[in-house]
Subunit: 94 residues, 5 copies
């Protein structure tokens, strides 16, 4: 899974109907040291009630689809947790 | 999912017959700031009636196949939405 | 799917027996402007009768396996079309 | 599979309920020469009782999900072994 | 599939029990011109009796799992052939 930060929303009126009712969030991947990868933001479906600015856990690939319980839904990134804390002991920070 | 822009079409007379009737679009991935990744354009099947120049939502991997409802179709990128708007609050733009 | 060019063949006498009878082609991924990514050529199974030098459509991942109709075949890249033409309108070329 | 080193933990109180009881570890990918890729740490579920600082074997994608025996669990990286030793003969070190 | 070279072995006493009896090889991906990508070696299960120093065909993702005939085995890279020869005609070498 990826650690990411939600930075915005995407709106699409014309879309596959199985996406109706799902929130499409723009997420940036976490980089070591606390920064985020700006270059390639991606879109993830939220299942947890996460909001803009929150640090989240994102699952990718077929696991992102099966967790939604609809086998034919066109989803490959799903937000499955809101991260409270990241613990890295000092000896592993360098 | 990826945010992309449709920049062209690919034509293939000799192809796997399950691809007949599907439009094959060339898509560039969105990069932060509004640019697009020119280097590696990819091919996606359109399911939504999107046209050249439109910004679209593209799903990848096995989810791109199952949304088409044909289990053996050789597809790994599918256009599943036309993006109307991207909202990124100012405090997350920098 | 990826646009690629076939540049050669790979021969393997000792291999998983489900690969017998399949042609293993070396493919380079297309880069914008007409060049090809030389650095990491990959191997794809041909299903369409494509030859060296031809520009082809390659599907990846589990979709490359299921199109072959043998569920346990160890294949993750399959050539599923020969590309006749790529159309990119001038306004999307820059 | 990837060789990685566990460098920390992630805590998420609000998460998909199928993740309850699973330890979420932060892992860095091994780079040749003994270093680790700091830039993009990822999150993996531990199934083996591994601890911070240990070198582990991580499986990715749908294989990371099916090994857990719960088909709908949102996991795409799973720690499946603790590495005791890496043997690379001298003639393959350069 | 990827062309790779086996450069070593990984030993793990504590591991998922479905991995017992499988040899875990360290593989480097082939780069054009005959070199190998040193930076990110990966681990693959051998099914073909390949040895250190041999050039092999490696399948990735879910296809690497299903070829083993055990649906829940945590494997995402499998060696499925030993490469005898790579043929690239001179006009495609530049």
């Amino acid at each position: 899974m990826i650690i990411g930060k939600i930075i915005g929303n995407v709106w699409a009126t014309r879309k596959n109907e199985s996406l109706n009712g799902h929130k499409l969030m723009i997420v940036e991947a976490y980089q070591y040291g606390g920064g985020y990868s700006r270059q390639y933001p991606f879109v993830a479906v939220d299942t947890i009630g996460a909001g803009i600015g929150e640090m989240v856990l994102v699952v990718t690939g077929s696991s992102a689809r099966v967790v939604l319980g609809q086998n034919n839904i066109p989803v490959d990134n799903t937000i499955v947790g809101i991260i409270d804390q990241i613990d890295i002991p000092p000896e592993h920070k360098d």
